[in-house]
Symmetry: C2
Subunit: 170 residues, 2 copies
Amino acid sequence: MADQADLTEAREQRRIDPSNCSMARALSVVGERWSLLIVREAVDGVSRFGDFRARLGIASNLLSTRLDGLVAAGVLRRVPYQEPGDRQRFEYRLTEKGRDLRPTLMALLAWGDKYLADEQGPPVVVRHRVADQAHGCDEPVSLVLECAAGHTHLPTDEVYRAPGPGARFL
Amino acid sequence: MADQADLTEAREQRRIDPSNCSMARALSVVGERWSLLIVREAVDGVSRFGDFRARLGIASNLLSTRLDGLVAAGVLRRVPYQEPGDRQRFEYRLTEKGRDLRPTLMALLAWGDKYLADEQGPPVVVRHRVADQAHGCDEPVSLVLECAAGHTHLPTDEVYRAPGPGARFL
DNA sequence: CGTGCTGGGTTGAGATTGTCAACCCAGCGG
DNA sequence: CCGCTGGGTTGACAATCTCAACCCAGCACG
């Protein structure tokens, strides 16, 4: 198997310092138990404390802490609103930074759909809504890998992680 | 702003039960502190207990627990190996299921690169390695959204989550 | 044959984080 | 001025994580 050869080769080459990695940083922001689920709800249009709480079943103190954390990280922003005949309250909306987590959510969703769905199939699918409603597309959407040279639909084993401009080595 | 209208609309429509979601299931497998970092290392060719430990700086008992969990989840498999002049030991290799987490890792990496990289730029980039080494491509790779009708490079706001075959409602 | 080294762990104390339940409080409506 | 509602805070307890110490099988060395 080429499998074994790959491993041996990999073990011998100069290694990128794995602690200096954007993935680790990303996980420090959204890597705990609830963060990504909160972001998922926000993507889905949820914005109020009580709605997050009800839909996720998360403890309120923890939700409070997580929302603060996500606001501090710039993933959500806290905006005042006022229902007619009610005092001012706050809601939590996604920022651009938060919206950019959508591919991550989709990748996780796709993986869950492939390996963890129950018999009836995936409970949620992602579809294409074109901005112009006249010719709605509505086809299922997937994530594909594409390289700058225009090669598209790369299988995942044709990609590798290489040192970037900010790389450090062991 | 259309932003506000979207939220209101979203709040009023029939909602997918968020607990019956592949994402939540996916997170229950790889959602804790170290799992994805372990998988990342595994993708990178790391397979041995001590190597994971050294590269991640994770406590050995926790690594032990996580590796067992990932094996139980089918993300890694435990295979015996024997170095010459040494006794039999075990290493942890990615399964297909584990390899399929690569898009998730890439999405997270891309997000981290965009928002969390330091001045020098991202420490790691993903490149295209063609199987046939003769015409190596080596261009940077990115994840793009594509729908079944062939629309490609969808902006994330042109996709939405819709009920799938296994959907439940609130 | 005893002694130590090395990879791959286990055990246990203490800090951190999460859960659950109770409580708070501002302001509207009655 | 009473209670209800949304959006929290507080505190007891449980589960997890971190850190440090220890273990143990088998090879290598003397």
